[in-house]
């Protein structure tokens, strides 16, 4: 089957520092794919390049078969790409509902309407409310993010991305900094996501990765060390050496 997201020999360097080297990567529709690697391997840089937040030094990025290497973020999002951030990147002073509604409004192309009150767009509010309810946040709609516990903020981070109804979802350590009980809850929610969404997840927690992902790519110093099924990755000697030996980072 064709890849929904693909990179061909993607490279990025900052001066003398190379953070991505000839990354060839394919994500198939509906796939559950994990990107792992030690700290500083270039995982978040890779996501930033996929999104268009960073411009690669060379190589190509294809989204749904089209070259988007030079396309701005907004265009990629319109073509079905969504992401979450490793470090919360929310509208901190706005209520939870607005955080999601802003994304829904962008997707439904009403963000430029200037006349009717935002609160009168019932379809936006209903969709956002339902989405938040599926993540167990129905009781926090009007709470500003700053007053929300951290674990729930991580869920809003995911909710915003889901508000875009992406075909491809890039999750940058969705459970970063969350105690394990709550991480478990986040994983359960991720497992319930619609199967047609292709998901690329960056994660340090190996239990979570091996339960969730069907394919795993191991990135070391900007290079793909190995790609395979969880079993293949778990068996690989090199992965043990460079990565599993220091997995207690995340």
């Amino acid at each position: 089957m064709d890849a929904v997201l693909e990179t061909r020999s993607l490279c990025k360097s900052f001066g003398a520092l190379t953070v991505a080297q000839n990354i060839d990567f394919r994500l198939r529709p509906g796939e559950r794919h994990a990107l792992i690697g030690p700290n500083g391997a270039g995982k978040t840089t890779f996501v930033n390049m996929l999104m268009g937040a960073l411009r690669p030094s060379s190589g190509r990025i294809l989204l749904g078969g089209d070259d988007v290497t030079r396309a701005p973020q907004a265009q990629r999002v319109k073509r079905g790409l969504g992401r979450t951030f490793q470090i919360n990147s929310l509208f901190r002073n706005l209520p939870v509902l607005d955080n999601v509604a802003l994304a829904v409004a962008e997707r439904r192309r009403i963000a430029l309407r200037m006349w009717r009150a935002a609160g009168s767009y019932k379809e936006i509010i209903e969709e956002s409310t339902q989405l938040l309810a599926t993540l167990g946040l129905a009781g926090d709609l009007t709470t500003p993010i700053v007053d929300l516990p951290y674990g729930k903020q991580r869920l809003v981070e995911i909710a915003i991305a889901l508000g875009l109804r992406p075909r491809v979802l890039l999750l940058d350590e969705p459970a970063a900094g969350v105690p394990s009980a709550e991480a478990e809850r986040i994983l359960q929610l991720l497992e319930k996501l619609p199967p047609e969404i292709a998901i690329l997840i960056i994660e340090h927690d190996m239990d979570l990765v091996f339960r969730f992902a069907r394919r795993i790519t191991v990135l070391v110093q900007g290079e793909v060390l190995l790609e395979g099924t969880p079993q293949e990755v778990a068996r690989d000697r090199r992965v043990h050496d460079v990565y599993l030996g220091e997995q207690h980072h995340g």
Partner: protein, 331 residues
Amino acid sequence: MMHGGGYTVDARIRWPEWLPWIAALAGFFLLPEYLSLGARILIYILFALSLDLILGYAGIITLGHSAFFGLGAYVAGIVSAKLGITDAFVQMAAAAAAAGLLGALTGAVILRTRALTLLMLTLAITSIILEIANKATWLTGGADGLSGVVVAPILGAFRFDLFGRTAFLYCLAVLFLGWLLARRLIYSPFGAMLTGIRENTQRMHAIGAPVYWRLVGVYTLSAVMAGVAGALLTQTNQFVGLNVLGFEPSGELLVMLILGGVGRLYGAFIGPVAYLIAQDLLAKQFPEYWYLGIGLLLVAVVLFARGGILGLIDKWMPFSKPAASAKASAR
């Protein structure tokens, strides 16, 4: 009272929001000798409102907003004094169009930059326009100012009288429309989106908003509004001077808005009222103390009361507090 807009906010007009208009009409009947000051205040409120749109809601910091105000003022004056077109609405439309065009062009160029560079660029642009107005004497009158501005009776019926009654009501009517538009905008999805940009630009990019174009858009709108305010100034004074351009009017406007409260809609009302009345009372007799006072006040507001006058009112009267909004407005 905060006016943050968004999807959880009730956008209906609440009763205190009618107070400024009642006060303005009361002033019209009770203080006929202060109508010219009144008109000036109304004009500056419109100007401050335009700044609040980009500063308070979209988070664009500028030291050059007078470029649009001044351009509007000069275009309206030139249309009247040099082209002989006396219709008030044509003058205003020309001013709005010119300011909007300048806003779109300069916005498209400068809004790619940030922080100090952006600040400098806005300042340089208003300085350039000041320099043009100063040197193009044949068109603008240069340092002597542009006189001979004629405005025909509005709608063919209301003549600009010596006491400034027509001028006051005319400004009030235009401001009312401007307020209505600004208020709609702030509570609309567009307004919510602008707040999103101010709160977290990175995330707005990630949810697919072409942030740069949105900023250019609101910058242009704001420029149009400032241009209209400039046209009003020309029409009520029937004169344009160089003091509408450059750093000083921009800085003064910024001060007014900050004193009133940024990102709160009505900060743009309270600020100019307080500033201009105080200036009228103090500045002529005690110019030193006036500057001293304004300076100290500004330092105090920055250090202790980021929300301005409205922020203090919110703090002391903890009723009617919407769940969230302009906390970050003074960033």
